[in-house]
């Protein structure tokens, strides 16, 4: 076949896939903005969005417009960013640590975030100057630094990182429990618990403006390292023999996933299961090449989390469930299905 033509065809296909992905993402965001307890017709949603994006000036009810734009759309955008960030972080950590069970919270981030959050909310750390989110972010980054230091001291290997993460998580979870049982009122404890399971209800545009650049940056950095991530398939020695500067790549990628995860956790709490399950699902769909896998995981994660948010808002009338409950309720069976349907050879044992 003509080479230039096959190149052009590949280019066109890529363009098509990208356009389709963007369209799917956009459609899901709009879907997230349309569905909710207050019935708002689709044309109002469409008009509100075009008004804001292009200054179209269609007449719409200001209350409806406010709900759509400030509440639901910001929420859908944050959900998308968060789902994408967690899924990408999961892919990167699973490949880097060669562990199918690695998830972004492995690095002590969610435990640290919860400690930070309770320090602010219950102990009043920061004297009212720190928001819950800022406290969570500080806690997450502090916990990650400790875990990273411990991992370096313990020898930098994948096992060292995983063990350090477990130790760090246990420590910070214990701190959180200590503070909650010692100082929290029943209401505060319930509020913290709700926050820990993931909560998008307070999310507004400033959160979205924080989340979007971080996920964009994170995805870009990971994509730049896509080939290096491929090279880790046979371990760090094999990666080094393929010319990957192993330590630098590990440090860069672990730091960027930690940053992404910490920011997301500080905005919405620790939504579980996304970072664990979506990478496996994305691998089933597009295979293991990271150039394709990373964006695919980001897309699936974004769509999944918007969907989970919609379900969490609508499944029980008049009540919002923590989104983490939904992701786990869907994620656990999905994970089980993936496990059962893994191609043979990957985990067979003798009888």
């Amino acid at each position: 076949m003509n080479l230039a033509r096959s190149r052009a065809m590949a280019g066109a296909r890529l363009l098509g896939v990208v356009a389709l992905s963007v369209a799917l993402l956009g459609a899901t965001v709009i879907f997230g903005a349309t569905i909710g307890e207050t019935q708002i017709p689709f044309h109002t949603v469409a008009a509100t969005i075009t008004n804001h994006l292009f200054g179209a000036g269609y007449p719409v009810d200001t209350i409806d417009a406010g709900i759509v734009w400030n509440y639901r759309l910001a929420r859908a955008v944050v959900a998308a960013a968060c789902g994408a960030a967690l899924a990408v972080s999961g892919v990167v950590l699973q490949s880097l640590l060669r562990n199918a069970l690695a998830d972004p919270y492995l690095l002590g981030i969610s435990a640290g975030a919860s400690s930070g959050a309770v320090s602010v909310a219950i102990l009043g750390l920061g004297g009212g100057l720190l928001t819950l989110s800022a406290g969570a972010l500080c806690g997450a980054l502090l916990a990650f630094s400790l875990v990273a230091l411990l991992a370096v001291l313990a020898g930098r290997g994948p096992t060292a990182i995983i063990l350090a993460g477990i130790a760090g998580s246990q420590l910070f979870n214990a701190l959180t429990s200590f503070v909650v049982t010692k100082s929290a009122s029943a209401d505060e404890a319930r509020g913290i618990m709700f926050w820990l399971l993931g909560n998008l209800s307070g999310v507004r545009w400033p959160d979205a403006w924080m989340a979007m650049p971080i996920v964009g940056l994170g995805l870009a950095v990971c994509l730049l390292h896509a080939r290096s991530l491929d090279a880790f398939a046979f371990g760090t020695d094999a990666a080094a023999a393929l010319g990957v500067p192993v330590r630098r790549v590990q440090a860069t990628l672990i730091a960027i996933t930690a940053l992404m995860t910490a920011v997301m956790v500080s905005i919405v709490g620790s939504i579980g299961f996304v970072g664990l399950v979506i990478p496996h699902a994305a691998k089933l769909i597009v295979g293991v090449r990271h150039v394709v896998l990373l964006p695919a995981a980001a897309l699936v994660g974004a769509v999944f989390l918007i969907g989970a948010d919609v379900v969490s808002r609508t499944i029980i009338a008049g009540q919002v469930l923590p989104i983490g409950v939904i992701t786990a309720l869907v994620g656990a069976p999905a994970f089980a299905l993936i496990l059962v349907h893994r191609p043979s050879g990957a985990g067979g044992t003798a009888r």
Binding site: R98, A100, H225, D230, A233, D237, A238, G243, S344, G345
Partner: protein, 260 residues
């Protein structure tokens, strides 16, 4: 491409695993490294490939210390087939061989027609063209080994280092793979357990014993009955062959090792 080791030392827990090894792999030669289990072959090879730094001495590539060179440019010149390398990922054979192109591709450059052609050729060379789509986990041990060798070939190295590449291979593929790599226009450094393979294919043989290089030279000069008895603790007679390399016939131990 000349790879030179000067006085390499590597220790673990204070014990030397490789102890003062100096040797030079000449361009285009096939250098076999033989020695009993634990004699330091794999450790030596990991320093040749730049994966481990020696605690003393150094490895140079055309006179430049390996650790001064950029990793990627080393990987374009030196390819390694490890003794054990497994993955949990669901890769196809072709995807494994594709990995060999990584050192030749920038982070953003797409793989081109030449990359595909090199991968195709590597698959054909190890006789796996018809298995390109098979999943890694469905392969037998020998097929995995051949896929690794194809991956190393796809790196288009000037120096190819193999750590016991004939492990798991049936006799046909043992000989085919050794014939294939020795026919390459590259320097070959290969750790081998079968002394007859070393005698048949190597230009020179290096004998390791407890971390030290105890002999290096042409197979007929190095693989003598006395040395085999001293290093490997087995009796052997060397039968002359028309190639001049000799055939090593091992004699069963007169008093078999007992258990218990």
């Amino acid at each position: 491409m000349t790879l030179t080791a000067a006085n390499l030392v590597r220790r673990a827990n204070g014990r030397p695993l490789v102890d003062g090894v100096s040797l030079t792999a000449e361009p285009g030669e096939c250098l076999a490294i033989v020695g009993p289990n634990g004699s330091g072959k794999t450790t030596l090879i990991s320093m040749f490939a730049g994966l481990r730094l020696p605690h003393a001495g150094r490895v140079t590539l055309n006179g430049t210390p390996l650790h001064r060179l950029d990793r990627r440019s080393v990987a374009r010149q030196i390819a390694l087939v490890e003794q054990h390398a497994e993955t949990g990922e669901r890769l196809s054979v072709r995807e494994v061989v594709d990995l060999g192109r990584i050192p030749h591709l920038g982070p953003l450059s797409p793989r081109g027609a030449r990359d595909e052609a090199v991968v195709d050729r590597a698959l054909v060379a190890v006789g796996m063209a018809d298995m390109a789509g098979r999943s890694w986990h469905s392969l037998s041990g020998g097929e995995r080994q051949r896929a690794h060798i194809a991956r190393a070939l796809a790196q288009e190295p000037q120096i190819l280092i193999l750590d016991e590449p004939t492990n798991h291979l049936d006799i046909e593929h043992q000989l085919a793979i050794l014939a294939l790599v020795t026919a390459l226009d590259a320097t070959i450094i290969v750790a081998l357990h079968d002394l007859n393979h070393a005698a048949m294919f190597a230009d020179r043989v290096a004998v390791m014993e407890r971390g030290r290089l105890v002999a290096i030279g042409r197979p007929a000069d190095v693989l003598t009955a006395e040395r085999i008895s001293a290093v490997f603790k087995v009796q052997a007679t060397i039968e002359p062959t028309e190639t001049g390399r000799g055939f090593i016939r091992f004699t069963a131990p007169s008093r078999p090792a007992t258990w218990g």
